[in-house]
């Protein structure tokens, strides 16, 4: 019961945060709302006994990525998002109903499809389990991920290098 209550509290917070991200015109507020959503999700993870994911979620998303977001927003000194010009403004009237439809569809699917879902293994989220899985069954994806990260890093470094080196 407590679990369910908490679940709904977190869920509402997550959705609220999500909506605020979109609605706020000040990008700082949007970013902060996103952090709220991230925390709410972390809470959901904890309810699902996935402590590891929850903590990593906070550390990575809230702790690192969103800080960088804020950093960039502040660096560029974006105060208030400018109103979209011309036709784009009316996208709202298309986008919102579309989102609503998608939401209804997914909701329908979720109610129809996932009625019997329950948490099978409560220790699935522990560090030990994750560590073991990463280095046995999922060792290959794990290694590929490392390559992926190297690629991303090389790319980011390349694109943001300031000077062009001149080679004779």
């Amino acid at each position: 019961m407590l679990q369910l209550t908490l679940f709904y509290i977190f869920a509402v917070l997550a959705v609220l945060g999500g909506i605020m991200v979109v609605v706020h015109r000040n990008p700082i507020y949007s970013a902060l709302s996103l952090i709220l959503t991230l925390f709410a999700l972390a809470g959901e993870y904890i309810l699902l006994m996935a402590h590891f994911i929850a903590i990593v979620h906070i550390a990575v998303y809230a702790g690192a990525i969103m800080v960088l977001f804020l950093f960039v927003i502040m660096l560029l000194n974006i105060r208030i998002e400018e109103r979209a010009p011309g036709a784009l403004r009316y996208m709202v009237y298309i986008g919102v109903p579309m989102a609503a439809i998608l939401f209804l569809q997914l909701g329908y699917l979720a109610f129809k499809g996932f009625q019997e879902v329950y948490v099978k293994n409560t220790d699935v989220g522990t560090v030990e389990r994750i560590g073991q899985a990463l280095f046995s069954k999922y060792v290959l994806p794990f290694e590929i991920t490392s390559i992926l990260l190297v690629v991303a890093m090389v790319g980011a470094v390349y694109l943001s290098k300031r000077k062009l080196e001149i080679v004779e």
Binding site: I35, I55, A59, A62, G63, V67, L70, F71, M74, V127
Partner: protein, 344 residues
Amino acid sequence: MLEAILALIKIGVVVFLVILPLVMMLILAERRVSAFIQNRLGPNRVGWQGMMQPVADGLKFLFKEDVIPGHVDRFLYLIAPGIILFPALLTFAVVPFGDQLTTYIGHTLVTIRFQIADLNVGVLYIVAVASLGVYGLVIGGYSSNNKYSMLGGLRSSAQMISYELPLGLAIISVVMMSGSLRLQDIVVDQYEIWNVFRQPLGFIIFLVASFAETNRLPFDLPEAEQELVGGYHTEYSSMKFASFFLAEYINMITASALITTLFFGGWHVPFGILEAINLPVLWEQIIQILAFSLKTLFFLFFFIWVRWTLPRFRYDQLMNLGWKSMVPLGLLNIVLTAIGIAVF
């Protein structure tokens, strides 16, 4: 139920009886030590040896006019001081300041852990929460709508992110030694030999990164008085300003406690003294807690000591040090540790 009551008691004790008084003492200590280093006296009039000086300061903060400048982003401006206190306090939740004590309370056998919450992912928890500390600074800096504050916020976010990496890398090598993410386990693991001897490089990295994370000199660029007029807290006054101050000292305490826990054997009493003199369990516990406190206090002193002896880094030096020295060293340390574990 009992668990919850115990937890609340622990929280209360730690926050109100340990941390807050300690912060007050620290403020005084900072002034006294700095005076000592600079060969002067420092505050010594209020109370014995100036002991009541922090109280006077606190009262001053409380009764000062709370100025909210007109150009700030009011909502963010107001919540920033609150936000900054939270992570600072939260980190302390998983630090074990003593061994566990099994005793009867009434008629039930209860295990009292000298630790607020014994998380199995304690180390990760610390990393996660520590990484949130920056928000207070950034939001404060942004909402003040002041270029110095803004610069302070920017600097802090870049700095914190940069030094979180070496911090994490150093912790990983410690975790590799203990094989557990639970802080209590890490402490127990250091029974024979402290990590500082097994992980000298890791210790240095962690120490330096801690300084950066707490925004203390030589890494206090976000609030550098000479350049930024106080940085992110320029526009704050009264209790709000105090909470920024408070947070910085709480962070110092946490950092010291973590250094102690991770590298200096936590609550272990060195040289097997405790084993040599056979004491009742309760006394043993108390001595262990004292040992932990002493080590922590030493590092607090160390923080202050460094502040008043080292000059501030330049910003690019700070970044270079972080990315070009600390991170590779941290990685190297992990490799060395892995080799070490594989060999022994």
